[in-house]
Symmetry: C2
């Protein structure tokens, strides 16, 4: 079911500063950057690797305000890992299986993620304290 570690979502106070840090220290480049009003973040995807099932990224997240989920995360825990995302081939089938195992889905149906993906989050209390995201990549251009 899991095809790859799609990305590690990292909450930060200042997106520009953190992008510059990752670029100089780890030599990774931004391949997408966008504001997601629905999730209350400005986010950047830094490319780590490509694989058969899609790419792997570091996702840097700066909250749009203190009352957003990532803003509250920063106030409570400070900068650090916010969530882990795994690539799946069929997100609807994965959600059905995982929900059937008793894990609560924070999204009842997939919603839009970065770079044309479909995403859904699982309840961290049901996944050992890890906010876990499923990602289905868009079909590759043929």
């Amino acid at each position: 079911m899991l095809m790859r570690i799609d990305h590690v979502g990292i909450a930060c106070e200042n997106l520009d500063e953190k992008i510059a840090f990752y670029r100089s220290v780890f030599d990774v480049k931004v391949v997408a950057r966008e504001i997601n009003e629905e999730q209350g973040v400005e986010e950047a995807m830094l490319h780590v690797a490509d694989g058969e099932g899609g790419g792997s990224y570091i996702q840097l997240l700066e909250p749009l305000g203190p009352d957003t989920p990532v803003g509250k995360f920063l106030a409570r825990r400070g900068e650090g890992v916010h969530h882990i995302a795994y690539g799946v081939s069929d997100i609807v089938a994965a959600m059905e299986h995982i929900g059937g195992e008793g894990v609560r889905l924070l999204d009842k149906s997939p919603r839009h993620g970065a770079m044309g993906t479909s995403i859904a989050f699982l309840h961290p209390k049901d996944v050992g304290g890890v906010l876990t995201e499923l990602v289905e990549s868009p079909p590759r251009p043929s």
Copy 2:
């Protein structure tokens, strides 16, 4: 420099229970399990994907006691993501570059990790609150 997200290290209270959970919910299998006295953990590697640079894994960590680093992490923050590990081709060169950028290295030279790897940790305060590990895989059998 970064070749892959090698693994996500997740701290847990009970390794057997968490392995069973990940197996049934995410259909991932244990490919290695060992006690690492030096790090004070019993750990299991659950296989997610293979790539050109090596595999990607979920690493589950149960502390050997409350006075170990992972034991203290659990007492302070509860179960959840403990660290992120990136695969590199040359860990000594990566450590030199990263140290030269002003990031403190928790290991002065590489030490032994799971499955024959060489590993080194970076100071989380210098990497935006993320305990970050570098992993160089052993040469593949030819």
